[in-house]
């Protein structure tokens, strides 16, 4: 089996889906000759031509809105937003059109499209190349939301997203693009949207995270193990719909939940998961579900690393839970 980075997994998923189904096409800023600013689409315009790998004008509304029309007309567009931070000039196309098309037409029209976007911090990107806007999407009925953390998942979930009949926001933590290589099957495989992955089984505490902070979460888990603690680690992978069963099952076992995310804290995915667990497992909890999240500030360049959950921050919160 070949080993791949996340960025290579994206490229190979796109390549396979485009050769499998000629309705699949890519559009976005610099996705053509440039192959995308992160090279996710490298080589694909040469292979499939400028109509199927289309450089768009510099407008996220044009990209996302055109994707809706392309999808409604029968294509399977994969739109790239160059950085998740730049989805906002076009977000009404996701919220008013993509998310509501099936609903408002009573199921007559649909928008099976994928919106890829590099997300999250840690690359010295400052305000507008670091944000994690997933909560905005999950809060909006009609959009599915995936956030990947491994090359293997990336390929399987991106292929599944492209074949999905709903609009899927596919978020790629840019700091993981080249962080690790792992074995990824070169043949066709899918990972179902909506299923979390248990990265480590354990009985003392449940660590739930997704995307970029999976790195710090797993590091923290290792240190816990070193300290004789046995943590269970869950990677949500899909945020809408998130895998409640997996999380409840784990917390029912451990009695302790620590939710880790680098997005701002207020009204976040982390809030949703801990709120839900408190509602449904009240009697089985040995300690209050806690959150370690990004701070409720704009994303500062100078504190690029400190903004995100650090291993220390995770361990401190875990200690509070375990000592409770």
């Amino acid at each position: 089996m070949p080993t791949m980075t996340m960025i290579q997994a994206i490229n190979s998923a796109l390549d396979e889906e485009m050769s499998r189904d000629e309705r699949v096409m890519l559009l976005g800023e610099d996705v053509g000759k440039r192959g995308g600013v992160f090279l996710a689409t490298e080589g694909l315009q040469q292979k499939y031509g400028p109509d199927r790998v289309m450089d768009s004008p510099l407008s996220e509304a044009a990209i996302l809105g055109a994707a809706v029309g392309l999808a409604a007309h029968g294509m399977r567009p994969v739109a790239e937003i160059q950085f998740a931070d730049y989805v906002f000039p076009g977000i009404d196309q996701l919220f008013s059109q993509a998310a509501k098309l099936r609903y408002r037409s009573g199921g007559q029209f649909t928008a099976p499209m994928v919106v890829r976007m590099p997300t999250g911090g840690g690359v010295k990107g400052g305000h507008h190349h670091s944000q994690s806007p997933e909560a905005h999407f999950a809060h909006t009925g009609g959009l599915k939301v995936v956030v990947v953390s491994t090359p293997y998942d990336t390929k399987g979930l991106l292929k599944a997203a492209i074949r999905n009949d709903d609009p899927v926001v596919f978020m790629e933590p840019k700091r993981l693009y080249r962080a690790v290589k792992e074995e990824v099957p070169s043949d066709d495989f899918l990972i179902p949207i909506g299923q979390a992955a248990i990265r480590r089984e354990g009985k003392d505490i449940t660590l739930v995270s997704y995307g970029g902070p999976m790195i710090e979460t797993l590091k923290a888990a290792e240190e816990m193990v070193g300290a004789g603690i046995d943590p269970e680690v869950i990677d949500l992978r899909t945020l809408m719909p998130w895998d409640k069963e997996a999380v409840l099952g784990s917390v029912a076992k451990t009695g302790r939940l620590l939710m880790i995310s680098e997005a701002p804290r207020m009204a976040s995915i982390a809030s949703e998961v801990t709120a839900t667990v408190s509602e449904e497992l009240f009697d089985q909890l040995l300690a209050p579900p806690l959150r370690v999240t990004g701070f409720d500030t704009p994303y500062p360049l100078a504190q690029d690393k400190l903004y995100m959950p650090t291993v220390t921050r995770i361990l401190n919160a875990a200690k509070r839970l375990l000592d409770y």
């Binding site: 996302l64 409604a72 196309q93 009573g106 007559q108």
Partner: protein, 368 residues
Amino acid sequence: MVQEKIRFQPFSGEPIRLVDEQGHWVASFEHGLPPEQLRRFYRDMLAARILDEKLVILIRTGKTSFIAPHAGHEAAQVGIAHALRKGHDWLFPYYRDMGLVMTLGVPLVEIFGQTLGNAADPAKGRQMPSHPGSKKLNIFTVCSAIASHIPPAAGAAISMKFRRSGQVAVCTFGDGATSEGDWHAGINFAAVQGAPAVFVCENNRYAISVNISKQTASENIAVKAHAYGIPGYHVDGLDVLASYFVMQEVIERARAGHGACLVELVVNRFGAHSSADDDSRYRSREELAAERQHDPLVRYQRFLEKQGLWDANWANELKLEISKELEAALQEALQAGEPDPLEMFDDVFAARPWHLEEQRQLLAEELR
């Protein structure tokens, strides 16, 4: 090949007009249309006017919650409807296009069902009235958000070009819509891709209360096409034949592979913005009365009379026939029951995820 039949020039100073106020044919070419078709235009404009009146009654009698009258837009809407290939080309309409979608063949029962928001609405009563749509007829369901349908129209047109489907995407909107960023972004994309999209502004010079003088300083709407390197046609939208012939030419121009264009149909808004509006707050009755003097139906009637194609009896019979048809459809629609409340949880996604299943259960128990 498309060249030989080019009749209209973009960026004309004066609006393109084929029939003058008195009903004279003032064009340099013969219209060459058979009597039935000439009369059909009249019939459809009349039907649109009568539909408008019926909708007003539904508001007055509290049977519906909202309407956006199209009186004054009939010539433009009928001209557009006849210019595109029904069920083949796509229409991306806006909320003031009830006359347009009716002319395109949306079943009257569906129109009234959508207006009543009951089970006769193929969209399950989910949206406000004046938000029709039909997959069968390639009419993209109206979205309330002004100009949000422009980029999707561009996308559909790009798909049509890519797939060589021989279709055209026609997208309508008001003058106010031209100020939205999505309007600009969508047209620019369609234009640079040379996609078969025809963007049509039904310019009634008001966005609710905002006069076009506060909307844009541009000479007119058609000139905005310069920004995209596409032709912009400035047309008298009270002239059904001008609307039809220009639309027909530009749609076939787009179909022939000559790319996108912009058409401005100058119309009148004979009433308030909507049933929720009180236009006396911002529009003098004199101005309105003066505008009402320029009625697209009256002008076209004069034209038909000159051709010996119009007489009062025929028109009255037509009126009766149309009213009967509409009334019958309305009665049928009124019979339909309320939508099932639990349908609220359908069509959010292709299948219901666990959280919507839970929420559906919650409501089901509450309703028990």
